[in-house]
């Protein structure tokens, strides 16, 4: 489903060359739940954004379902993200001036869905994450846990095949964190391919496979026997 072939990613930061990833080659099968762990600055987020087509590798290839993302135009990559990929961020990244319902409607609008259908689907998704009573609340009127659940509903809007989650529990209390992870596990059971970046080993244990990144290189690639047990 997702594949990297000899990927290097370098960029300049304040005049200095930063090597985010170095010669990474791996494959993630359809339906896998992969956790990417490693210290800060190890290239975890770069890894995720490369799979999302939001970054281009300095060298090597990134493939999504057999298609090289580098061969797609920026607009084609945007369409791919809109229809087949869902992002979840540590800081939720909800649009602050839109209500919970409108935030969930955004990806549906970007995918070209009719407004009435957008509304119906967004209401259903917010009900699924337990926020049917908070449709008209803006992010600032919601708790952090509720905000992350809105972000999860938004991520699911276009029923993506691949979920790319960047520290989705990083800003949450243990109980909310557990419920978010339970939700991701449930999505995995439904057949979604999930790549989750975390620095928390307990979170990584919930995944079926762990990749350890250090200084831009994969130093460990292991599978867990009882990965999806909650």
């Amino acid at each position: 489903m997702l594949r990297m072939e000899h990927v290097d990613k370098e960029y300049h930061h304040r005049g200095k060359l930063v090597r985010a990833l170095h010669n990474v080659t791996l494959e993630i099968e359809r339906g896998e739940f992969v956790a990417v762990v490693g210290p800060s600055g190890s290239g975890k987020s770069t890894f995720l954004l490369l799979f999302g087509g939001m970054l281009s590798p300095s060298s090597g290839r990134v493939l999504f379902d057999g298609a090289s993302l580098g061969d797609l135009s920026a607009e084609e990559r945007a369409r791919l993200r809109a229809r087949r990929t869902g992002f979840v961020f540590q800081t939720f990244n909800l649009v602050p001036y839109l209500t919970a319902l409108e935030n969930v409607m955004v990806p549906l609008f970007l995918a070209g869905m009719e407004e009435s259908a957008q509304r119906e689907r967004a209401e259903g998704l917010l009900a699924r994450v337990g926020l049917e009573g908070r449709l008209d609340h803006k992010p600032s009127e919601l708790s952090v846990g509720q905000q992350q659940r809105v972000a999860l509903a938004r991520m699911l809007a276009n029923d993506p095949e691949v979920i790319l989650a960047d520290e989705p529990t990083g800003n949450l209390d243990p109980e909310t964190s557990r419920s978010i992870l339970d939700f991701l596990v449930e999505l995995h059971r439904e057949g979604k391919t999930i790549v989750l970046v975390t620095h928390d080993p307990r979170v990584a244990e919930r995944a079926g496979r762990s990749l350890r990144l250090v200084e831009g290189a994969i130093v460990e690639d292991g599978r867990h026997e009882f990965a999806v047990v909650g």
Binding site: L49, R81, A82, Y97, V106
Partner: protein
Amino acid sequence: MKLSTLVGRELFERRHQLLTGFLAIFLGIAVVVSIQHVSHFSEMAVARQLDQLGANILILPKSASLKDYYSADMQSEVMPEEYVTAIALSDVEGVNNLSPKLSVPVRIGEREFTLTGILPKSEFQAKAAWQGAGVFSRATGHVCAADLPGYVKPSGDEILVRRRVVEILGESEALLGAEAAALLGIESGGVLELLGKSFSVSAVLPQTGTVDDTRIFAHLHTVQDLTGKGPALNAIEIVGCCQQITTGMVRKLNALLPEAKVVTISQVVDTQVKTNAMMANLSVLFMVIIVLVGGAGIANYMYANVFERRREIGTLMALGAGSGMVLRIFLLKAALLGVAGGIGGYMAGTALAVALGPHLAGVTVLPLPLLLFWAVLLSTAISLVASYFPARRAARLDPCASLQEV
């Protein structure tokens, strides 16, 4: 969710920041609209004043000179009266008054006078074809003296003195210049014998200090018949209106009447052209300043807005927005800002001009609805052009850097 909802919500949410961008365009457009209003009505006032100076274009027989004309316009050369019809039926714009005439010397007792045949305006209006051509109202683009709001038409005698136009003049009626009347000892209502015909004197004209004071005016066709010259003229005087004089009127008249000589009375035309040019240049100067200041204000606001929304832009890109969509979001916002600034600026500028016009420029200013269209067009164009580069920057943002995830 629609694009307009997304843009509208953001505009409303950050309305206080929006105020700076809106004010830049609103104030700029208000100033432009205000200047346009005042200069338009000032231009009309100048046109009215210049119009009162008399004819500014002459049509003479080819061989006649201006010197002949000024020596009591009695050159021996004549041209056909058909030229008047040709002008009336042509597409020449800006003819505010048309005065054909034929002058001949006449002797009454021991004294010599000039008998000038003129065509009363009622005869122009009586000719359906001329009326249809609308010769006296074809001054498009600029309103001439006769059309000015609040303009009180001068009395018949004054019009004759200035423009040699009278509304009605019977075939046996005559008008006497002040000096001619004094010399002949005839008053209004008297009878005058001329070339074997008896004329009743309809009016004695006010003193002008010109050759007209010794002139006797009668109906053109009567003078033509009495002198046996047939349908001939010495000159056609034209009061050309406003900018049409400089925008092809003389050229068109030359093309229309290749056998005649078309001359402008330079002082009058020059004054008119210079005044119009000065007002036009002033408007352009202000327009350029406003475009630069307003555009810079909008661009500054939009750059700040793009910077502030980097994370949001990155998020939208992660959710599937392409660079084209991001560009549209910012340009739609700019267009809404432009339309609002244009409408608001028009209203404020019009109110300002109506209130201050009489005090600052000494003219009565009325709202010009057409300026609303131009205000909105200009405002939107400024806003879109000024926002294009900030919008393009937003569309080209590195989503990773904007998400601060790397």
